[in-house]
C-alpha cells in the first residue's frame, strides 16, 4: 500500500511537468502569434522600442524567442519550472504577488465547490436512493428527465437562465422590498456579495452542481436497483434481517462503491466547472483569476494557478483510488 502511494506520487512529477510545459507552450504560441502583451498596455499610443523593451522586461516577455513563431522557448520554460519548484510564484502584470491573488481567490472557490458538492451529495444521493427503491415512480421519472435536461443544457445557458429569472426577476422582489433581510437579497442576488460569502454563493452552487447532481442521482438509482436484485441481498433477507438493514447495510454499501468513486472525480469537475460559473456570476475566485490571466496573456498567473488545479485533480484522483480499495475489499494495490 505504501509502495503504491509512493509510486503514484512519483508519477505526479512527469504529469505536472508535462502540463506545465503544455501551458507554457500555449502561452508562448499566443504571444508569438498575437504579439507581445506589453504592447496592449500602451492602448492607442505607439510606444518607442525602448519603452516597449522596458515594459517587456518587467513582464518577463522580453526573451527574443517570443518573436520566433513555433519556438518552444525552453530556456523560459526551465526558468519557470525552477521558480515554481522553489516556491517563487512571482507577480502578475499589475505587480501583485500571485500568492496574494490565490490566497484571496481560493477560499471563495473552495466555498463555492463545497456548497455545490454538499448539494450534489445530499440531493443526488437521496433522490437516487428513493428512485432506486420505488422504481418507475414519480421520483424515478424526475431523476431521468432532469439528467437528460442537465446534460443537454450547457452550464453557461443554465447559469444565465438562473441569473435572469431567479436573480434579476425574482430577486428584484426582495431588493425592492423593505422587509426582506439582507441575506435573502444576497441569496437571490445577481452577483457575489462579499458581505454574505455563503448566501450569495448558493445560487451559483446550484448551477454548478446541477449536472453532477443529476448524474449522481442516476448512478445511485441504477446501482441500487442492480444490487437489490443481487444474490447476497436475497441471502440477507433469508437470514431474517429487517428490511431497513437489508437495504441500508447490505444493498447500499455495495451500491455506493461506484457512486463515491464518481463523487471523487466530480470534485475535480467542480473545480474546473467553477471557472465558467464564476465568470457568469462575477465571483472573484480561481476561475476569475484564470480567465483574467488568459485575457491578458499573463503567463505568470495562468501557469501557477492552472498547475495548482492540476495538482488538486491529481491528489483527488489518488484519494479516490485509495478510497475505492477501502470500500471494496476485493481491490488491493500490491
Amino acid at each position: 500500500m505504501g509502495r503504491y502511494i509512493l509510486k503514484r506520487l512519483l508519477q505526479f512529477i512527469p504529469t505536472v511537468i508535462g502540463s506545465i510545459f503544455l501551458l507554457h507552450y500555449l502561452v508562448v504560441l499566443g504571444i508569438q502569434i498575437n504579439g507581445n502583451p506589453a504592447r496592449a498596455m500602451f492602448g492607442e499610443r505607439t510606444p518607442t522600442p525602448a519603452q516597449l523593451q522596458a515594459l517587456a522586461e518587467v513582464f518577463n516577455t522580453s526573451d527574443p524567442c517570443l518573436e520566433q513563431t513555433g519556438n518552444p522557448c525552453l530556456g523560459l520554460f526551465w526558468e519557470r519550472v525552477s521558480n515554481l519548484v522553489q516556491g517563487e510564484l512571482g507577480v502578475n502584470f499589475q505587480r501583485i504577488p500571485i500568492t496574494e491573488l490565490i490566497s484571496h481567490a481560493l477560499p471563495v472557490t473552495l466555498r463555492l465547490a463545497f456548497l455545490a458538492f454538499v448539494l450534489q451529495v445530499v440531493i443526488g444521493l437521496s433522490t437516487g436512493v428513493i428512485a432506486g427503491l420505488r422504481g418507475e415512480g414519480v421520483v424515478d421519472y424526475l431523476v431521468k428527465v432532469s439528467t437528460v435536461l442537465f446534460i443537454s443544457v450547457p452550464v453557461f445557458v443554465l447559469g444565465r437562465l438562473v441569473q435572469v429569472y431567479l436573480g434579476v426577476e425574482f430577486g428584484g422582489v426582495f431588493r425592492d422590498s423593505s422587509w426582506a433581510p439582507d441575506w435573502l437579497t444576497a441569496l437571490f442576488g445577481v452577483r457575489y456579495t462579499p458581505d454574505h460569502p455563503w448566501a450569495s454563493l448558493i445560487l451559483p452552487a446550484v448551477v454548478l452542481a446541477a449536472l453532477g447532481l443529476a448524474t449522481t442521482a442516476r448512478l445511485t438509482r441504477t446501482s441500487l436497483m442492480e444490487n437489490l436484485r443481487a444474490d447476497y441481498v436475497r441471502t440477507a433477507i433469508a437470514k431474517g434481517l429487517p428490511r431497513r438493514r437489508v437495504i441500508g447495510v447490505h444493498a447500499l454499501r455495495n451500491s455506493l462503491i461506484p457512486v463515491i468513486t464518481d463523487l471523487g472525480y466530480q470534485i475535480g469537475v467542480l473545480m474546473s466547472g467553477a471557472v465558467v460559473t464564476e465568470t457568469i456570476f462575477n465571483i472573484p475566485g480561481i476561475g476569475g483569476l484564470v480567465i483574467n490571466g488568459v485575457r491578458q496573456q499573463d503567463a505568470s498567473v495562468i501557469i501557477p494557478v492552472v498547475t495548482f488545479l492540476v495538482l488538486v485533480y491529481l491528489v483527488i484522483n489518488l484519494l479516490v483510488d485509495l478510497l475505492y480499495a477501502v470500500l471494496d475489499p476485493r481491490i488491493r494495490y500490491e
Binding site: 444474490d231 436475497r234 437470514k239 431474517g240 429487517p242 447490505h250 455495495n254
Partner: protein, 342 residues
C-alpha cells in the same frame, strides 16, 4: 434489542407436537409482461425431524420457487403466493405478518443457496456476516458475535477459523465458501434447513465433502432437511424420501429406495434412464426429448404428455391427480400401474 423483547414480539403460538413442516397445495405465480407464469401449482409435502426430503426436478420445475415460498423470500412483485398453506409446527406461515415471518427466517427455517460466492456479501468479512445472525436475532454484542462466528467456522471444519473470520468471501475457495453458507444457516440452530442445490457450483470431490458435512450436522441436530437438486446421484446417498417435480407439480413421491427400484411415473423413469452408466459405455445416452412446457401456457392435460414414452389420448385431455400407489408413495400418472410393472 434484547433477547426478551425479541421473544415477546415474536410470540407466535407454535405447537411443539404438531408436524415440523407441512406444505399443502402451494400455488405460486409470477406476473410478468409476457403473461402469468404458474411456477408452482399445488405442491404438497411434509417433513419431520431428522428427515431428509429431496425435491428433484430440472430447471424451471418450480423446486427453487417452492423453497423461496417456504422461506417467504419470493421477489414480489412479480412473484405471488396465490394459494395453499405452509405450516410450521401447526402455524400457517403464509398468514403471519411480515415482521413475525422475518423472525422465523434464519432462526427456525434457514436456507443455503447454490452459488456461495454471489450469495455472500463481497464487502463484509465472513465474521461480520455470520455474527449478524446473533446481533440481529439475539441482540448479542459485536465481540460476542465474533466469538460465536469463530465457533461456527470451527463447526463446519474451516481450518484457522480465528484468522479466517476476518477475511472476505473472495479469499475463500468454493468449498470453503459453501461451508460458510452452511455455518450461517446453522447459526441459530434452525429446525428446518433448505439446501437449494448446495453442491451444483462445486467440484465433484468437494461436493462429496459438503454433502457429508450437511448429513453429519443434520444427524447431530436432528434437523429436517429439504434438499433441492437435479442430481440423482446426490439424492441416492442422503435422502430418505423424494418428491419429483415437473412444471410446478409433484409428479411422484416415494421413499428413496422405491424410486430407484421401481419408478411409478414415466418422467422419473426417464430421468433414471438418462443417468450415464459405466455398463452402457459406447451406447447412445438416453435423453428426454423435447422441453418442459412454458409456465405461461401449461397444456390442459398431463404436462409431461408431449414428452412421454407411454402417452395415451387421455393424457392430453385429463390432468392426472397424484394417485396413491401405497401409503408412502404417489404418482401423477393415469397409467402408473403399467409404468411401475415394467
Amino acid at each position: 434489542m434484547t433477547v426478551e423483547t425479541e421473544a415477546k414480539k415474536g410470540a407466535v403460538a407454535f405447537d411443539p407436537n404438531a408436524p415440523l413442516l407441512e406444505v399443502e397445495d402451494l400455488q405460486v405465480e409470477f406476473r410478468t409482461r409476457d403473461g402469468v407464469a404458474k411456477a408452482v401449482n399445488g405442491v404438497t409435502f411434509s417433513l419431520s425431524e431428522g428427515e431428509t426430503l429431496a425435491i428433484l426436478g430440472e430447471s424451471g420445475s418450480g423446486k427453487s420457487v417452492t423453497a423461496q415460498a417456504i422461506m417467504g423470500i419470493i421477489d414480489s412483485p412479480p412473484g405471488f403466493v396465490t394459494g395453499g398453506q405452509v405450516r410450521y409446527r401447526g402455524v400457517d406461515l403464509l398468514t403471519l405478518p411480515e415482521e413475525q415471518r422475518r423472525r422465523i427466517r434464519g432462526a427456525k427455517i434457514a436456507m443455503i443457496f447454490q452459488d456461495a460466492l454471489s450469495a455472500l456479501n463481497p464487502v463484509f468479512t465472513v465474521g461480520f456476516q455470520l455474527g449478524e445472525m446473533y446481533r440481529i436475532h439475539r441482540g448479542t454484542s459485536r465481540a460476542e458475535a465474533k466469538r460465536r462466528a469463530i465457533e461456527l467456522l470451527e463447526l463446519v471444519k474451516i481450518p484457522a477459523a480465528r484468522q479466517r473470520v476476518n477475511e472476505y468471501p473472495h479469499q475463500f475457495s468454493g468449498g470453503m465458501r459453501q461451508r460458510v453458507m452452511i455455518a450461517m444457516a446453522l447459526a441459530l440452530d434452525p429446525d428446518v434447513l433448505i439446501a437449494d442445490e448446495p453442491t451444483t457450483a462445486l467440484d465433484v470431490t468437494v461436493q462429496a465433502q459438503i454433502m457429508g458435512l450437511l448429513a453429519e450436522l443434520q444427524r447431530e441436530r436432528n434437523m429436517g432437511l429439504i434438499l433441492i437438486t437435479h442430481d440423482m446421484g446426490v439424492v441416492a446417498d442422503v435422502a430418505d424420501r423424494i418428491s419429483v417435480m415437473y412444471a410446478g407439480r409433484v409428479v411422484e413421491r416415494a421413499p428413496v429406495h422405491d424410486i430407484y427400484a421401481s419408478p411409478a411415473h414415466p418422467y422419473t423413469k426417464a430421468l433414471l434412464e438418462s443417468i450415464p452408466r459405466v455398463d452402457h459405455k459406447g451406447k447412445r445416452l438416453n435423453v428426454i426429448k423435447g422441453l418442459p412446457p412454458a409456465l405461461t401456457n401449461i397444456p390442459p392435460g398431463c404436462p409431461f404428455a408431449p414428452r412421454c414414452a407411454v402417452v395415451q389420448q387421455r393424457c392430453h385431455e385429463e390432468r392426472p391427480p397424484l394417485y396413491e400407489v401405497n401409503s408412502e408413495r404417489g404418482s401423477a400418472c393415469h397409467y402408473w400401474e403399467e409404468v411401475i410393472a415394467r
